[in-house]
Subunit: 460 residues, 2 copies
Amino acid sequence: MTPEEFRRWGHEAVDWAADYLSYPEHYPVLPPVEPGGLLAALPENAPEEGEPFETILADFQNRIVPGITHWNHPGFFGYFSVTGSPPGVLAELLAATLNNNGMLWKTGPAATELEQRTLAWLLNWLGLPRDWFGIIFDTASTSTLHALAAARLHAHPATRVDGAPPDLVVYTSEQAHSSVEKGAIALGMGQRNVRKIPTDDAFRMQPGSLREAIAADRAAGLRPCCIVATVGTTSTTSIDPVPEIAAIARETGIWLHVDAAYGGAAAVAEEYRHVLDGCEQADSLVVNPHKWLGTPVDLSAFYTRRPEVLREAFSLLPDYLRTAEEDRAVNFMEYGVPLGRRFRSLKLWFVMRAYGRKTVADILRQQIAWARELAAEIAAHPDFEVSAPAPLSLVCFRMRGSDDANRALLDRVNASGDVLLSHTVLRGRFVLRLAIGNWATRRNDVQHAWSLVRQAAAAR
Amino acid sequence: MTPEEFRRWGHEAVDWAADYLSYPEHYPVLPPVEPGGLLAALPENAPEEGEPFETILADFQNRIVPGITHWNHPGFFGYFSVTGSPPGVLAELLAATLNNNGMLWKTGPAATELEQRTLAWLLNWLGLPRDWFGIIFDTASTSTLHALAAARLHAHPATRVDGAPPDLVVYTSEQAHSSVEKGAIALGMGQRNVRKIPTDDAFRMQPGSLREAIAADRAAGLRPCCIVATVGTTSTTSIDPVPEIAAIARETGIWLHVDAAYGGAAAVAEEYRHVLDGCEQADSLVVNPHKWLGTPVDLSAFYTRRPEVLREAFSLLPDYLRTAEEDRAVNFMEYGVPLGRRFRSLKLWFVMRAYGRKTVADILRQQIAWARELAAEIAAHPDFEVSAPAPLSLVCFRMRGSDDANRALLDRVNASGDVLLSHTVLRGRFVLRLAIGNWATRRNDVQHAWSLVRQAAAAR
């Protein structure tokens, strides 16, 4: 494809994208497809000869798009809703055009320094210490794995050479994301060394139980290594009491990592800055701009106050990667598993500048308000109950009745094509989750979802 | 930004990208910037109010692009050259527009199945077994970490629960990529358990030494766990004798992983299919379409014949991620660390279809031919020597003289702005690397680089 053909097809692609973004609700949120459907429709082998781009673009529109779950749909309320805002999309186009690999400062000076600056901007928006070291990974799961690796090295410096000792313990709440446990498994710390601390009525880690667990492990000859607190758990967006947890971490000398992948974003709005109270004492923290901050997937921002520990955990500089600038510049490849690095900071830069903090804060506070309004309506309805406090933009609820009835309710609502809700299990009971987070969602969309839920409940 | 504004700015961005792609040599390959330059030029804080997109785009063009190392420049011969081909760039635009997160089949049916199909297409192009399980990760370093984790679980199933035992040994060559060692460190297997097997005159792992090392470790009570062979090492593109290594792996029951991140691509051309000889016996293999196969970063294709082992190493299914389709569809999040998944297969699909196998094969064989031609010219020159065999598209060479003289030579050549060469150290000697791999590179560019080298050598 010549640059002039690229221009022509680029304009076509942009027009398609503009049309799509102006009306994503043209498609059902969940596509009406069965496993294997696309596989059956696609050729067994790639072509020997190149195909006209027209055909490829048509196949994209006719075969791929109808089989996509539309995370852009304003009725997408499952998992955590995300937003690839238009400025972020254009940044991805430009980043792919440059195709820069910023593994070293030398191989991407602007990419390296823009990553440093945008991550510092984000700290400022969140009210966190500006001098923290930031690095972008693909997902929060990867960020948390890096936090655990740093904590492990901090607790046991010989890990790097000798391997993971069998006695390092990780503490998190029973509501924490599965990535904490997965990270411990991957790092060879052992699933049995992950303690899931009980939570209170609001699904928040109980500091007293944490303290007891640490003491019991120490008494048993084990070494507490890392506490992972969560600001905005996946099931309910509960916010662990980080100030109390941080005090325990300080007293006991244990690394504190905060998973604020979703919830941390709320701190951009002044009145929700408190969600990050205590986090300034953390050793590391992750927040995902690709969740609630308008940035297309993937962009997970990982911070640590102890970059030297992270670097010691991961740095290997073979001859072929040595540069003259290594004492004067950050080489991000020294701070993690991946060597190659896509130019991800560009989209964060575009999004933060195109919207500005005030607009982003307005979007978030509005979505939180809609969630609270919805929670109040559900609580007031005789046939429904709110299943957990809704401190942010997620409402967990269920119809009064059996788990099976609620499962069927969820399926009926999602079959509408208008909305996607997801589910979780709280204290053994099946619960529906309605997560507001797509910037295209309006109050009407939330109200429509609630209306579909009531209709489906009444029709059963 | 409204969809109509997106349309307008999207057209602007495409026009800029088309101009850039038609003339990337407008910029020096290595930008004339110093560490901290961009940081000093950017505001300390993100704006409170949104800024006009015009300003952002202008800053991108005026501040970012001049500070970028231009991997698109036809004179980029450093590290491994890469190509973000125009169809791949457009796919990235569309993927960012959809903003799909294919963590589960349900959250991205088309993304999941297109990943399955394109990775099977690639197996077919490479002449590898079609029934291997494939999954996309960001980089080869991440893929290799997953290979080591699977090998670890295979050797010691209790790893998942109990943690990494201290006695598992990984074997690779002294020329292997640093990611093997980094992966072992990250997984808690211990740097001291990585054996770097000596290489022969052509920098290939010596099977005899491998066999001895395994026997010695077993005699010492250690447990050999994984052999990592390389097809196309980073320093010289040497190709380990995989058939012999595979035979050892089979005899000893050790997991064989092949790092074919760069070199594997050559197998797309029939006459170079032999570079993957023996790889059909591997337990896992990585090849990076984002290196030599026209796909924008990042896209690393990881394959394994034993997906059940990979899944056992990484699967955790919390309640909130359970779906009705989990027995009938692949949920890629079960097979690795990352949960969220960008829709990366789209660009591979676009690239494979837009070019077709024959065109890709022609590009690769042409680049290999240019490298061989260059190697012959260097070998024939009285002031230079070729430092390693050039089986693929990389030539390692040095000027006769000291390491310092060669370092200075490299700096002078790179200061031209016309080319970027990188370096490595072979048998203790500093060596220049000229890696052909950018699809925009022409024979003239290679010849020009060689001419610059000769001029710089003569001018010293």
